[in-house]
């Protein structure tokens, strides 16, 4: 394996930390030191892109691809640079198409290709690309959001709303909100082994939440049952049981335990959340969801997700203006919340404000790509492969 030159390593560290200016300097030092391979140019493209310097990003990414036509991270940066610069949708489509051929299993290539097609007015091709993305990864929320917006444009909100809800279920923001309401955070410490948890209610409940955070649903439920065996009206335990039922698609069960929780402790936020989500997932109970999420948005006004959930239920009631206002509040609280951006795009589409809707879709795509850390994942894989290629 070729050991990278120190300037390149420094440039990578600075780029990962977001220090664009110093990362550019370090990357140029790497080039001056003779590190002129595709990896350096791909890194430089990403650094320029992070600073919104689109033309230099295009130049660097193009150079990387000239040196190595299989440099996947460079394709990503090139396509993103074309997309964000604007007015270059034809080039963007070509790049994403090329990337999808270089790495056919790369979901983001198909998602981005769809978005480039959509921006160019080729909706049928866009839908095909997003469907291909879901074929590769059925849990890709962004492809689902895009398909829901396409369905909205063609067939209206009644047809599109289930798609938005499904995308929301796939979106990590949903569970994140539940645990935020429960006051449970991921501190990087693994959940305890259920067999070693202290046999008291508090310890068991804490461990159950920790296990649920790690998606160990069955172990979490085992501990919840132990808590309820001791105190069957423990509201937080009932609400957590509801969350676990929701994760397994057992909507009516979740509804029953959430209603029980609220009958003993009416102001348990996580029980309110579980009840609203159960209502939202049932085809005939959207009106009830709107009441519950409206109350939750009033009770938790400082979290964007409470407004997103409220907005989605308002869409189901055809209160599009109120839904738009709720989405706007969510975006104001967290401009990086992808689900809020896509939802706002839907509300703007219904209002006939298509230019603003497209802007929101572009912002959603930007933030989704960043939160997924796509570039660094591809760059690290490329770097690891580069060492292997040079060994052979």
């Amino acid at each position: 394996m070729i050991a990278p030159a120190p300037p390149l390593v420094r440039a990578e560290e600075l780029a990962r930390s977001g220090d664009v200016a110093r990362a550019v300097v370090a990357a140029h030092e790497a080039l001056a030191a003779g590190d002129t391979g595709p990896r350096t140019h791909a890194l430089l493209a990403e650094i320029f892109l992070a600073g919104d310097f689109f033309e230099p990003a295009i130049e660097s990414a193009t150079r990387a691809i000239e040196l190595d036509p299989d440099c996947v991270p460079a394709y990503l940066s090139l396509g993103l640079a074309y997309d964000r610069r604007g007015g270059m949708w034809d080039q963007s489509v070509l790049v994403w198409h090329e990337l999808a051929e270089v790495d056919p299993g790369l979901v983001v290539a198909h998602v981005q290709l769809g978005e480039a097609f959509f921006a160019s007015g080729f909706e049928t091709e866009a839908i095909e690309a997003w469907r291909q993305a879901l074929t590769i990864d059925p849990h890709n929320a962004r492809a689902m959001y895009n398909l829901a917006i396409a369905a909205l444009r063609r067939e209206g909100m009644a047809t599109a709303l289930p798609g938005f809800r499904k995308a929301g279920e796939l979106d990590p923001s949903q569970d994140g909100f539940f645990f935020r309401l429960a006051g449970v955070y991921d501190h990087g410490v693994p959940a305890p082994d259920p067999d070693t948890v202290e046999a008291d209610r508090v310890s068991r409940l804490e461990a159950a939440f920790a296990l649920a955070l790690e998606d160990d649903l069955f172990s979490a439920m085992d501990l919840v049952r132990l808590v309820l065996a001791e105190e069957s009206d423990e509201a937080d335990a009932l609400a957590l049981a509801g969350h676990l039922y929701l994760k397994q698609g057992a909507v009516l069960e979740a509804m029953a335990v959430a209603l029980r929780a609220l009958s003993v402790a009416p102001k348990t936020p996580i029980a309110v959340y579980v009840l609203g989500t159960a209502f939202a997932r049932h085809s005939t109970l959207n009106r009830n969801a709107a009441r519950v999420f409206g109350a939750l948005a009033s009770a938790v006004p400082d979290h964007p997700m409470s407004h997103v959930l409220n907005a989605e239920s308002l869409l189901g009631l055809q209160r599009y203006g109120d839904a738009r206002a709720a989405y706007e509040r969510a975006v104001a609280l967290d401009p990086t919340l992808v689900r809020a951006r896509f939802g706002l795009a839907a509300a703007l589409t219904i209002a006939g404000e298509h230019a603003l809707a497209r802007h929101e879709i572009r912002r959603a795509a930007y933030h989704d790509t960043r939160r997924a850390g796509e570039f660094w994942r591809l760059y690290d894989a490329y770097t690891a492969g580069e060492g292997g290629r040079n060994d052979s």
Binding site: M157, T159, L228, E253, A258, R260, G352
Partner: protein
Amino acid sequence: MVHDATEDLFRALAKRDPAKAIDVVERVRAGGMAQDRLFDQLFAPAMAVLGGAWADGELDEYSFTRAAAAADQITSFVTAPSAARDTGVTVVAGTMEGDSDAVDKDVTAAALTEAGHRVVDLGTGVRPAAFLERVGETGARIVLVFAQTMAAATAVVRVHEMLVAGGRDDVALLVSGGPFRADGRLAHAVGAAGVVNGAEEALEIVGRAARRGGGAG
């Protein structure tokens, strides 16, 4: 009585007997409870009892799941109908001749249909005469013309002229689209009664017509 009914409903669900559960619902409704109160005052309390029975250990996991399935089967009996009632209002909608944009039309038409209005969607590139013909066939009193280009928007005056010439000046001509949003005078210039900005405004305007009974077709 409602308390007894709640207990009866819970028992029926716990025994996985949807037929018995429906009987309970019907009994309560026959006793005078309005349809829109059944969920809050009967179903939800019974479900809370069901949740408590699971938490107490009175119901095991399997029984709880079966009871939930029974509850799912009766939700339509305790909720209002999900499909909106037919309002009797007919709207003829279409994108003006010379314009092929369908998005606003499709979104608005779908919203109006979902709200229970009858929408006759003529598609895109619609000739002025087609609006008049369809009004005659359906008895509609609202025509909604979409136009996203300036040329198509100004051409909407031909729809107005057609309606007047056909003796249908009782029909409300509404317009929608970017040109009308940008120039507030354009709608008046083409003889339109108003501008619809988005699906929600269309719902408000047509809803008002439905309540007045003036748009019945």
